[in-house]
Symmetry: C2
Subunit: 205 residues, 2 copies
Amino acid sequence: MNKDIPEFSLQRMPVYLNYLRTLPDDGNYNFISSGAIAQALGLGEVLVRKDLAYTGCAGRPKVGYPRIELISALENFLCVNDAKSAVIVGAGGLGRALLCYGGFKNYGIELACAFDTDPEKIGTEVGGKPILSVEQLQESCKKYGAVLAIIAVPASAAQQTAELLKKAGIKAILNFAPAQITACDGVKVINIDVAANLAILASML
Amino acid sequence: MNKDIPEFSLQRMPVYLNYLRTLPDDGNYNFISSGAIAQALGLGEVLVRKDLAYTGCAGRPKVGYPRIELISALENFLCVNDAKSAVIVGAGGLGRALLCYGGFKNYGIELACAFDTDPEKIGTEVGGKPILSVEQLQESCKKYGAVLAIIAVPASAAQQTAELLKKAGIKAILNFAPAQITACDGVKVINIDVAANLAILASML
DNA sequence: TAGATTGTTAATCGATTAACAATC
DNA sequence: TAGATTGTTAATCGATTAACAATC
């Protein structure tokens, strides 16, 4: 699904959705033009129209796009309405912060639980979500029907964690460990290295 | 600086550096070929050679690239050796997790402190770094000579935080709030929306 | 109608890959 | 020398932008 649309367009979809949702419901934004969206987000207006065309929501010349319908189209495009379950591996600072973060539900994603190896943490709850032993990973992922996972373990454990997740039926991974995850055929991976991003910014100064 | 090199090449530099640093110092990796790097990182080998050419480190036909020199060249390219100071705004779960994270020093970045509005948090320490009042932001950024900042506040406060940071002389921002930061002429911004990334992954399944 | 905006087709731009000569 | 690998030039690919017809 969503395989025939450009990668970069796909990446902007949540940005559009998020922006449109933040607009006030006061009737002044029942329709919004591609130009207005483009300006707010710092994009080209033709680019915005092209992207929005993928959602199937048609704009009206002289009027713009119907905001509510556009939001629905974007939600539909991003499958926000079919609930998906995610797990976190690693209940350190980052893992715990994410467990408490409420933003996932905006995209129909529910955090089911986290896994850790520390006996002190296992059995406790963070953000109302249980922290389980990694030994229960396979079984728990199946139980929750989890398809998404976030890796928040030290770099040295990232690769084996990814392999474990693959075995557990996870289909996509968001990896925060500063390590390359390889040999995960069939599992989609996005890497986010916070320090590296800051370094990139620094080198651009 | 580093303005005449492709954006995407720049983004891969920390990946190369990180990978090369993880290789064992057992003498088997004194030289490494672009093909080996490419395979390990899932990139094309010509692409790797092109990227590495920007660092100024020359490889040797039949041998490959001298690993230690290449690491130095990458460090030099990313300005790892001139120390840069960074601050975090928002000492919630994410802000605190980042305060405790040691990975920034790999890129010559030192976290100086964090700022928050919560009187309960102000005056305390996390990860050995003080949490100060946002009212001290301007003054403290100057004092530490901070040029980098991480925004880890709620979306609703992101824009005003960015403006505050700009006034305080911050030159680049890593924004974790799911909100668009605009009107920050002259300040570089990278946005990281964790939930959006997970949503993108989910929609690709 | 005139003006604003959409949607599409063609042109441009930038990044990646392919081909290949140079080198050790 | 033969083989492996680099570095560069040309070709390809994909994404963005420009031009413009269609529409309300």
